[in-house]
């Protein structure tokens, strides 16, 4: 887990995907780009984990998919957050905030 390579902390990918989709429907490539850009190129989502994660989330009914046209008029599969997914995002966001704060407290107490 070298952070310099921009790899993700285990278990956060689902949350990042859900968060990205909360802004609106997007295809896999778009999701990866968005995460990369917003994180200032720190977080890079590997395709090998992105697509399995998307399909897993879809099977869990957290997201839905639909074929549509991309910005450059190509057929692309768009993922959209479901109501269940929105709740899941809230849950994960909440526990992540607690975890991050806790880690920060430990690290800052010399």
């Amino acid at each position: 887990m070298g952070t310099d390579k921009g790899e993700l902390v285990q278990g956060t990918l689902d949350m990042l995907i859900l968060k990205t989709l909360s802004r609106g429907a997007l295809h896999g490539w778009g999701i990866a780009q968005h995460i990369r850009q917003v994180s200032d190129e720190v977080l890079r989502v590997e395709e090998g984990s992105l697509y399995p994660a998307l399909h897993r989330l879809e099977l869990d009914d957290f997201i839905d998919s639909e074929w549509g046209l991309s910005e450059n008029n190509r057929r692309a599969k768009y993922y959209r957050l479901t109501a269940r997914g929105r709740k899941q995002l809230a849950r994960e966001h909440n526990s992540w905030s607690r975890l991050a704060a806790a880690i920060a407290r430990v690290m800052e107490t010399a």
Partner: protein, 339 residues
């Protein structure tokens, strides 16, 4: 449930969908190398959507059928052992069951009396009067056509040198016996009165014989069942242990103990299933024949059938489990050397 339908709907177009989805991604990134191994990726996503367990089971079963076909000799022995085991056991148990629980359809069987009379040549000097023409329907039995006619006779019609007398009284049996003996000796002092018992004792003695026969047959049946089980276990276990090398290869290639067990069970239990498929109809046929011979036998007494099948299946199960587990725990290197 919803997920089930989703999977079912999606599975059919999944492969093309996945292809298109990944193609789009590649096109956008314009960098094929970064994708790693697309086959592995596709495979792992496909697995997510698949009803993996059912499909793998189906594969295992097909593999099992192929292997069964490859070793017809050994497998025939196994199948026959099962078939015979079931046939013989259900038959014996059915006989015992019917002997022990024979019900003539009348309240107290021990009160029924048959008197038969034949002359020295074995012919019947009497003309039968069908007093009990409706015996068959009354007793709910079917009498064989060649049955020697039986009639109830008054003693005077044919005196016998030895006879049994049933006495009913209101006093205790011991007192009755004494009184009876006195009565007989008054008729003829030379007549010997012996073997006096209460009806209960006599019935119990009769029952004892049937019971002993039943117990004996039960023991035979149990022995037969035990033999069938041991034989079945041996055949299955032998077939599995012959696959030690193959199992070693599978383990070396990353198979888990669960994989191996599943594979072995698909074959072993397949064998058992074929044996059951052959043995059950045979057993049913025998039971039906018995019904024609023995009155009142329920054809294929279901509890007996179920019990015998369960025991044999358990034997087959253990025959798969024990050697397969042993094989799966063997160091792959040893297993590969094994031959």
């Amino acid at each position: 449930m919803k997920r089930f339908w989703k999977r079912l709907r999606r599975r059919r177009e999944l492969d093309r969908d996945l292809e298109d989805e990944l193609a789009f991604h590649l096109e956008q990134s314009g960098d094929r190398a970064r994708f790693g191994n697309p086959t592995v990726l596709r495979e792992s996503i496909r697995d997510m959507w698949a009803f993996t367990s059912i499909e793998v089971w189906w594969q295992d079963i097909r593999y099992a059928v192929r292997t069964l076909a490859q070793h017809p000799g050994v497998n025939m022995v196994g199948v026959l052992a099962i078939a015979l085991g079931i046939g013989a056991n259900t038959t014996v148990f059915t006989i015992v069951h019917s002997a022990l629980s024979f019900d003539m359809g009348v309240g107290s069987v021990d009160r029924l009396v048959f008197i038969s009379a034949t002359d020295a040549a074995g012919r019947n000097p009497f003309t039968a009067v069908p007093v009990y023409a409706d015996l068959e329907s009354r007793m709910n039995v079917s009498l064989p056509a060649d049955l020697t006619p039986l009639i109830y006779l008054p003693y005077r019609a044919q005196p016998e040198r030895v006879m049994f007398v049933a006495v009913r009284g209101r006093v205790p049996p011991a007192a009755l016996a004494a009184a009876f003996r006195k009565e007989v000796q008054q008729l003829d002092p030379d007549l010997a009165v012996y073997d006096i018992d209460t009806l209960e004792t006599r019935v119990a003695r009769n029952r004892l014989e049937v019971g002993a026969m039943g117990a004996m047959f039960s023991v035979f049946a149990l022995v037969a069942l035990a033999l069938a089980s041991v034989g079945l276990y041996a055949v299955v276990a032998h077939a599995v242990s012959q696959r030690t090398r193959e199992i070693g290869i599978r383990m070396a290639l990353g198979g888990t103990e669960a994989h191996v067990l599943k594979l072995v069970f698909a074959q072993g239990m397949g064998q058992v299933a074929v044996g059951l498929a052959i043995g059950l109809p045979v057993a049913f046929a025998v039971a039906r024949m018995l019904r024609a011979i023995l009155v009142d036998v329920a054809p294929g007494d279901p509890i007996t059938f179920a019990a015998v099948i369960l025991v044999l299946m358990l034997a087959g199960f253990l025959g798969c489990l024990i050697p397969a587990q042993r094989a799966a725990r063997v160091d792959p290197v040893d297993a590969l050397r094994h031959e």
